[in-house]
């Protein structure tokens, strides 16, 4: 059993493992309130990949991985990021949704003040 330290490495390894054996791969999530650790395990009965975390930001990554794996397991031809569930859409499965940077809303020093023209 191998614990992988970084999330991107774990996600890539999981996707590769799944592609090799889609019928045999299972994804197990183990949570204990006592320890507070969330342990993710993906195995095809030959190789085992594990990731352990106790930080809240990893919860979003975990949810994203769930939806990616579910789409692959079901062999659905929809896009991964759709949350509304459109069964009639015929889009091919795409890469995981990229986090779009929010537009900067910083005010103060960065805002440029335009000088008004003086009418003489």
């Amino acid at each position: 059993m191998v614990y992988i330290s970084t999330w991107p490495e774990f996600q890539k390894a999981v996707e590769d493992l799944y592609l090799n054996a889609p019928g045999q791969t299972r994804y197990v999530v183990d949570y204990s309130h006592k320890t507070g650790f969330l342990v993710l395990k993906v195995t095809d009965d030959r190789t085992c990949l594990k990731y352990k975390t106790e930080s809240a930001p990893d919860m979003k990554k975990f949810e994203r991985l769930n939806s990616i794996l579910m789409t692959k397991m079901q062999n659905r031809k929809e896009s991964v990021g759709s949350e509304e569930g459109n069964p009639t859409s015929s889009e091919t499965p795409t890469a995981p949704p990229v986090h779009q940077p929010k537009p900067s809303t910083k005010s103060g020093s960065s805002s440029k003040k335009k000088k008004g023209k003086k009418n003489r």
């Binding site: 299972r26 197990v28 949570y31 309130h33 006592k34 659905r76």
Partner: protein, 128 residues
């Protein structure tokens, strides 16, 4: 193991989490492709395609599968099968439920600041 419908599974899962929390028991959730009866179906479809045409098609790549979800806590075992039609809806409800019961540590901003300071110092050392 009882195979439940999706809504009942989620209700029972929330009860399992509530019961496990004070005791500190582990809850195991698993997700897998549901392939029961697949071999027979593939053999049947391949037989049909070989009879109708000479080209052998890869049937399994076009097939959509349901997903098997299981939850185990002590002696309580639950399971449900999620079809492709209900996949997104079930997953949203499942995630909402997990967010309520899985409590993890918030982001440690102090450690992040320290890490950032170390990175900046390293950069200065390499450039300067």
């Amino acid at each position: 193991m009882t195979v439940l419908d999706n809504d009942t599974f989620l209700i029972r899962l929330s009860e399992v989490f509530k019961a496990a929390e004070p005791i500190g028991r582990k809850v195991l959730l698993s997700m897998k492709r549901y392939t029961y009866g697949e071999r027979k179906l593939i053999a049947k479809q391949q037989k049909e395609t070989t009879e109708s045409s000479s080209e052998a098609k890869d049937v399994s790549s076009d097939m959509e599968y349901p997903c098997l979800f299981r939850a185990v806590c002590g002696k309580t075992k639950l399971s449900t099968v999620v079809t492709t039609k209900d996949g997104n809806k079930f997953l949203n409800e499942y995630h909402t439920l997990l967010r309520g019961f899985i409590k993890m540590k918030p982001k440690d901003r102090k450690k992040d600041k320290e890490k950032k300071a170390v990175r900046v110092q390293k950069k200065k050392a390499t450039t300067g």
